[in-house]
């Protein structure tokens, strides 16, 4: 499947060609359309998160006399969380490479590592949440904490859903092999997982680092 040699034969050129790029060949194959549709979902998910970020930024100083960002957040924990999620995203990429080569054992190992690192992230986040709630800094304490738990909790819920999806994909590929529809789902999962890491970059910067500036 070499792009260079095929492009002239298809006739998709800029100007001069009668081929508009749509009509004669019909719609794209499912292996393009499905991940593209999923890409649109991921982008709309980012729009959802932008609204949560905007409300957090508007409410971050509305602490109602309660604990502030600098008092609550622990940068070391966040660094470990960030590292776990970044490595998880990287290992997920390795799993995609091995999936393309149809190497079942390696792919399952990398996917397992992806899930394990995701679990580390989620465990630290839940530990942080339970510690905050135990200290009386739950979501009902102030507008700032409500928006904090909505934003970070929404990301955590996405990670949880992603882990369930990951487990399902591992089982499906194990049981059904590298069927095209299954591989498409796996590709969608990797897009979802990378997108979660992108959102986490924004969270650790805006919420945790800027929140704990001296």
């Amino acid at each position: 499947m070499s792009t260079v040699s095929e492009t002239p034969a298809i006739g998709l050129t800029h100007g001069g060609s009668e081929d508009t790029g749509l009509g004669q060949r019909g719609p794209q194959s499912k292996s393009i359309v499905v991940p593209y549709g999923f890409w649109l979902f991921v982008l709309s998910d980012m729009v959802l998160f932008s609204a949560l970020f905007a409300s957090y930024a508007s409410l971050v100083h509305a602490t109602d006399g309660g604990p502030t960002t600098a008092e609550l957040f622990d940068r070391k924990l966040v660094a470990v969380e960030t590292l776990a999620l970044l490595l998880s995203s990287f290992v997920c990429g390795l799993a995609m490479i091995t999936a393309k080569r149809k190497s079942m054992a390696w792919m399952q190992i990398w996917l397992l590592a992806t899930g394990a690192l995701g679990l580390v992230f989620l465990g630290i986040e839940l530990f942080e949440f339970s510690k905050m709630i135990g200290e009386g800094a739950g979501p009902q304490r102030s507008a700032f904490l409500s928006s904090f738990f909505t934003l970070v909790g929404c990301h955590g819920a996405h990670v949880t859903a992603g882990l369930l999806w990951l487990g399902t994909m591992m089982a499906q590929i194990w049981a059904k092999g590298f069927r095209q529809d299954i591989v498409r789902r796996l590709l969608c999962f990797s897009v979802f997982w990378h997108a979660l890491d992108i959102i986490w970059v924004a969270i650790f910067t805006i919420v945790y680092l800027i929140g704990t500036l001296p």
Binding site: I10, Q28, I32, P35, A51, M96, I198
Partner: protein, 128 residues
């Protein structure tokens, strides 16, 4: 894959490259750059040698750079002709995200500044 011809025109987001070497290099480079930017972010946030009021802006710039790294090296969003649809969708997403975030923060901060608590509200708050 049964349909070879249309595949060359578009590529799905996150689709691995055909070459295993270039694919692996892409992920390793992406991981290295992301780790570097994360480390710089944490350093910038904790060091005292930088000009304080500029630190928050610098952190946002670093975060945007790291998101770009993730998009290019992990999701393989590129400027190639087979990627036009993915890039256009991303551009629209970024537009909406910026409108929502900048618009909300701009409007809410002005409302906050312009609508200070009136004496009645102050009294109500005192009673509670």
């Amino acid at each position: 894959m049964t349909e070879h011809e249309p595949e060359a025109l578009n590529v799905a987001p996150g689709e691995p490259h055909d070459s295993m070497v270039s694919e692996t290099i892409s992920y390793v480079v992406g991981l290295g750059l992301a780790l570097l930017l994360t480390a710089v972010s944490f350093w910038v946030a904790s060091t005292g040698v930088l000009w304080g009021p500029g630190v928050a802006t610098g952190l946002v710039v670093l975060a945007i750079a790291q998101m770009g790294i993730h998009l290019v090296f992990f999701l393989h969003i590129s400027s190639g002709p087979d990627n036009t649809n993915n890039v256009l969708a991303l551009a629209f997403g970024v537009l909406i995200v910026l409108l929502v975030m900048i618009g909300t923060i701009f409007i809410m901060s002005h409302m906050d500044a312009n609508m200070g608590p009136t004496p009645e509200v102050m009294n109500l708050q005192m009673q509670h």
